[in-house]
Symmetry: C2
């Protein structure tokens, strides 16, 4: 059970976009350069985030991406699901209904205990990510990176962002 590599990229990029002034945008090229990522592959993931209504794109020169909502209103779960998909990790294929001892389907009204337990674990995972917003990430990263590093990042971003 491994998560797509793009999830890490997406989370970091959304965090960067959250640092922009309201309305300003940043193109794919800048986002890719910031962390030295493949520009074309990152574009694919940004597209997924756009479809999920997390970020929005402005075409043309001076175009780029920006958040569609406030960082406080975007959960990590949304970003993860936008890129990795919304399917549960465990898909019960009901193998108990197969084989020589199978009953008629009506006899299996309740999901099997294995399915229930796996769904409970999945729910715990989802809740943990739903409880964490992008704004939380920013407030937590601030103490880690020094104030000078933060200034440096903001300057770098300011040199490439486009104001409305």
């Amino acid at each position: 059970m491994k998560l797509s590599e793009g999830v890490e990229w997406g989370l970091h990029c959304v965090a960067i976009l959250a640092m922009l002034p309201p309305g300003a945008t940043l193109p794919t090229k800048a986002l890719a350069e910031y962390h030295d990522l493949s520009e074309t592959y990152l574009a694919k993931h940004l597209q997924a985030l756009t479809n999920a209504r997390i970020i929005e794109s402005l075409p043309g020169p001076k175009g780029g991406y920006r958040l569609q909502r406030a960082p406080e209103d975007i959960t990590m779960l949304e970003v993860v699901e936008a890129i990795d998909g919304r399917e549960p990790s465990f898909r019960c294929t009901e193998i108990r209904q197969r084989g020589p001892l199978a009953l008629e389907p009506a006899a299996y009204g309740v999901p099997c205990p294995i399915h229930i337990a796996m769904a409970r674990a999945d729910k715990a995972w989802h809740e943990a990510l739903r409880a964490q917003t992008i704004a939380d990430l920013l407030s937590q990263s601030q103490p880690h990176a020094g104030a000078q590093q933060l200034r440096k990042s903001e300057q770098w971003i300011a040199g490439r962002m486009r104001r409305t």
Copy 2:
């Protein structure tokens, strides 16, 4: 993030083996027939469960598999990890240390907030599965399947198991 199909197979098979009398074994062929699974592919997963010290194998005619511990001492997490692997779902590749704004590695003593949050979600998922044992699964499936169905299963198994 999807879980291997074999996880479902493994959990069901371990549950079946837990129904056997102490010491008795059941060969791969019977386990595969019970749920109409690919015998050869199931063998691969049973092998993984053997390496994880969850089940043990007896070779030769009258051989087969049996649990290596009591059902109360086998957690769902163990079975899942034996088949799907023990790697965490999210692998932080530290992309924050890449790109034009990267600092010297010593400056990144603390994991990034994204890594922390994902690890916390992973932990919640693991704990949920660690709290559920194979014995719990059996006690929960009993009320679902009727008593007659249970008897039917036990008879089917009794006809194919090997006593020591």
